[in-house]
Amino acid sequence: MSAPVNVAAWLLARNLERSPAKAAYLCGDDILTHAALVADAARFANLLRARGLGPGDRVVLVLPDSFAAVKAFLGAMLLAAAPVPVSAQLAQADYAFILEDCGAKALVTWEDSSAALAARGSATVSCVLACSLHGPWGLADHPSEFEAVPPPEDLPGFMLYSSGSTGRPKGVVHRQEDLLVPAAGWGGEVLGVSGADVIFSASKLSFAYGLASSLGLTLVAGATAVLLPGKPGPYELFATLSRHRPTLFFCVPTLYNMMLRAYEPGAADMDIASLRLCFSAGEALPEGLCREWMRATGVEILDGIGSTEAMNVFICNRPGQVRCGASGVVVPGYEARLVDDAGAPVPGGTPGNLHVRGVGIATGYWSRPEKTREAMLPDGWLATGDVCVREGGVFSHRGRSDDMLKVGAHWVSPVQVEEGVRTHPAVLDCAVAGGAVEGLVRPCAHVVLRPDFEAGPGLATEILRHARHALPPQMCPVRVLFHDDLPKTPTGKVQRFRLRQLNGGEGIAHGQEC
């Protein structure tokens, strides 16, 4: 595939030519055809230009998965501005940080959102567009034709924010054409995505996994995608699957787990007979969950590893050859290697740091030259931070080389959870490490109490409740363990690897046993 001049223009024109009246997106009762998408993306580009936006300007999108989100993303790209889709679930302070960090010039969101409030204090945001699920007010007043701007090479094409180990998210900078890469090896050769497919991703457009499937795979193949604006709980997901009858379902292990608990074969609102494949990414799919999903539903589930930096899945299982418990083999277009901490290759069967190389890897982190040097190595390799073993070409995930946790497919920095827990008045010190509950990684809080407080079930409950108010769901600890002190290095750094061994093992979990 040769690189088009403006990727959004190329994708839109291609679908307008082959199937203008076909549904590009489905959302609730509404249908957005390719022709309507072309017109509204152009209107969006005209609107942004009228508001003073131009090439390279960062346009932060804080929107539920909706027609508005797709129109805004493509509209910004037509102008060669850089869309920055951000989760709609963050706190005002997080939006304030991201708006400032990327030097956002425009914000597209719904009226009175936390992001809109954050933008009021921004020194850079000059344009805030309030949107419904269909687009910003007054969009129809703008012309439906727009001459796409060629994207300048030295400016970001689009950006996604990914959590960092210190708790501050990093902007991952991609070129426009990186959006097309998932449709080649992963979408084309592995999944066989075609125009006949209907794609549904539980992962939102603000995540690389959701953006790659709902936008990249869908528009390159000329397929149709289903968008779910609300929170994807198990019953909402089944209802969407029954109603829109997708052929491909992209989801994450935590939700597959909850769906299996809710599944009642034969129930009218749980009809999943339309599915030809399920895909799992975001965190490792436990072996038992993989087997049970296939037994209960009869639909194959393919586990894979990808990243925001790769904007793609680079290792995954193959249809007809699923190995539950393994991440799979290298996706066409990528190379993968496992190395020790000194960078030397490790022998087969030995855990090593996973590096991948291929087309479409991020050019760097926005304004983070040091982090960029650590992850994007000079010879084109990306240090993923994942630890894997390889046996006969098949990779299996073994964890992380840093303290980061993957919970419900979200990156969680223990530092942020610790900060939240420490705001409880009884907590003197806290360290957070991952522990397995129901086969999936969850944050567990190891707490040292202030002298006047006594460890016990009541206080553990109080700390859990406090955390639920202070932190987003994926960061909430599911276990509180009390300690007299925390294991630390001579320099005072918490040894989280030692705490991981304690989770669910020794220690006083939730007070005493009954």
């Binding site: 019953y235 509950v437 129901e438 409950t461 639920r468 909430c476």
Partner: protein, 78 residues
């Protein structure tokens, strides 16, 4: 260690759920259908593991949908 449905309600409250939600739970209906979310359920499972000396791996946990399921499972484990 066996636990009655009432004792399990106590553990749900200890897991941080609102008492009025816990009191209203139908023990024979799926917990996920009655307002428990992706944090409540694993917190409750972790508490059941810690208090009752059992391990709820993914295969076991998947079949524990209702409070009655939990009570039956714990009774079988003695």
């Amino acid at each position: 260690m066996a636990k009655s449905v009432e004792e399990l309600r106590g553990l749900l409250e200890e897991a941080g759920l609102r008492p009025e939600l816990v009191r209203a739970l139908d023990p024979s209906a799926p917990l996920l259908k009655q307002g428990l979310d992706s944090v409540d359920l694993p917190t409750f499972c972790a508490l059941v593991e810690d208090r009752c000396g059992v391990v709820l791996d993914e295969m076991t946990a998947m079949n524990l949908r209702t409070l009655d399921d939990f009570a039956r499972f714990l009774a079988e484990r003695g």
